[in-house]
Symmetry: C2
Subunit: 217 residues, 2 copies
């Protein structure tokens, strides 16, 4: 199995049996989401900004306004930690101590590189939109040159990364399984609601089929 080399930053120190360095595991966790939390440092202070991301092969991408301080800082090549996590359930045990959560998380360390070529930018934005809604990009009014200029796209190789996953029921102290307390898992799922058409929507346009196919989590 395609495995990523551990580094001092990605080596899992606690509960390492929950950890993984397999690309397939990491990719599956990344592909199940679209919101990440990017950490970076300005003047010694940590900042954690939520933003959307997408994966292309062995690279992770995120983007935003070229005026964004976060993106300007990151474009300069400072170290970044990008974390994706899914909360899958609450794990209720017989003691407070053994309560837990089921989750899937990935941490990626590295330095971001900006995509500067306008044609390349368009290709990556298409990959982002079509990754969510296959075929939508070609339905849209194309990007203009000023819009491409105003959009910063960053990417980072998924080289220094680890996954951590917890699944399954609570693990209680052996003698406590007999206690008269409900124990088990309360699962959490992300659902899409009914699409809400824009009040300005031109008449006669039905919600496209790709909305039904959209799934997160």
């Amino acid at each position: 199995m395609n495995q990523i080399v551990q580094t001092e930053r990605t080596r899992l120190r606690r509960l390492h049996e929950r950890g993984s360095y397999h690309r397939a595991t990491i990719n599956a966790i990344l592909d199940a989401g679209m919101l990440c939390h990017v950490g970076y440092v300005i003047d010694g202070s940590p900042y954690v900004t939520p933003t959307n991301y997408w994966r292309e092969g062995e690279r992770i991408f995120w983007h935003g306004s070229s005026a964004s301080r976060m993106l300007r800082q990151q474009s300069a090549g400072t170290p970044v930690c990008l974390t994706v996590s899914h909360l899958d359930g609450l794990v209720l045990a017989r003691s407070g101590f053994h309560h837990s959560v089921n989750y899937r998380a990935v941490m990626i360390f590295g330095r971001a590189e900006p995509i500067s070529d306008p044609a390349a930018k368009t290709t990556h934005l298409k990959a982002f939109v079509d990754g969510l809604f296959p075929g939508r990009w070609d339905e849209l009014r194309p990007m203009t040159e000023p819009e491409l200029k105003a959009t910063t796209i960053l990417c980072m190789p998924i080289d220094e990364a680890s996954a951590k996953v917890r699944t399954g029921p609570p693990i209680d102290d052996e003698e406590e399984y007999a206690l008269p307390v409900w124990a088990g898992v309360l699962p959490l799922e992300t659902h899409t609601g009914k699409p809400i058409p824009d009040p300005h929507l031109r008449e006669g346009i039905a919600p496209p089929a790709y909305l039904d196919g959209f799934k997160l989590g």
Copy 2:
């Protein structure tokens, strides 16, 4: 309205009309979630760790194993950024450029303080569990002294904080509302699934009513 003073770190530089420094707004966003992303710096590198949190009044709490490197680092009083975000929907516009997401997010800056008194630790853990499942704490086998020792609880005042919120339909360029492209919002919601009883669950224990009342998002 109770408003938090802005600092250089919390001043919203972009789309500031989406920002808020009202305690009521910040608290509502915090109370709708339980997973945060904590950013901290070790040897100049940013780390972003997903973890559970809870709010008590004007303080935010998180916890974990006393053996955790993250918590030991944060207990030492280094600067921390704690971010909570909810992804509420995908906003589909007529151009790629105007696509967006609806979200609610809070960033809190500060330095964490550990809770060291065992009785205080118990009180805060009870607040966490009962905040999720009212009344559950008293059903559980009580915390032991070694368990309290093995648990680090950190808290931080919600003093240097900001919220950012986007809601509503896409904002397209005026002349593009007429384009024959579906536009609108695809809402995202967190749902709880059916509780999964622990395979070891003692017979005759029904899922407690507080599971039905649980809601995130």
